[in-house]
Symmetry: C2
Subunit: 82 residues, 2 copies
């Protein structure tokens, strides 16, 4: 079966996110004053060929740990869609 | 009320995504051969102060159009969480 999988990789809450901070400030300059705490990470989509949802999730977890995310600075969240 | 809002900004389907292509190839090198069509975009989270969900969505849409996304190369999707 083929699964569509998304991964969200975000900077850890405990760390500064300078890109997010810059965007938060820029909001004020374009007169948007009700948006705060902007944080910017990566959204990754892919298709995974697997027997079941669990196998798909395991493959993507392996890819995250060995290739996609930096455990010192980031956390990741996997969503398996049908 | 305060809303948590996420935006996913992805390269348009019709365009090449060189970063995604590079990651797809790298998957083979670490012996993951069931993952294809990797595409990489941005995941942005923020808090929005607004009367209701609709007002929150409108603010974020304005931020996307004036600051965050490039309509020539990207599409965006807004999710308002409670």
């Amino acid at each position: 079966m083929q699964f569509n999988v998304t991964i969200d990789i975000m900077p850890l809450k405990a760390l500064l996110d300078p890109q997010g901070k810059a965007v938060t400030s820029s909001m004020k300059n374009i007169n948007i004053d009700n948006i705060e705490n902007v944080r910017i990470g990566k959204h990754i989509t892919m298709t995974v060929e697997a027997k079941d949802e669990n196998e798909a999730r395991l493959s993507v977890e392996k890819a995250c740990k060995e290739l996609l995310y930096n455990p010192i600075m980031e956390s990741f969240e996997i969503n398996v869609l049908k």
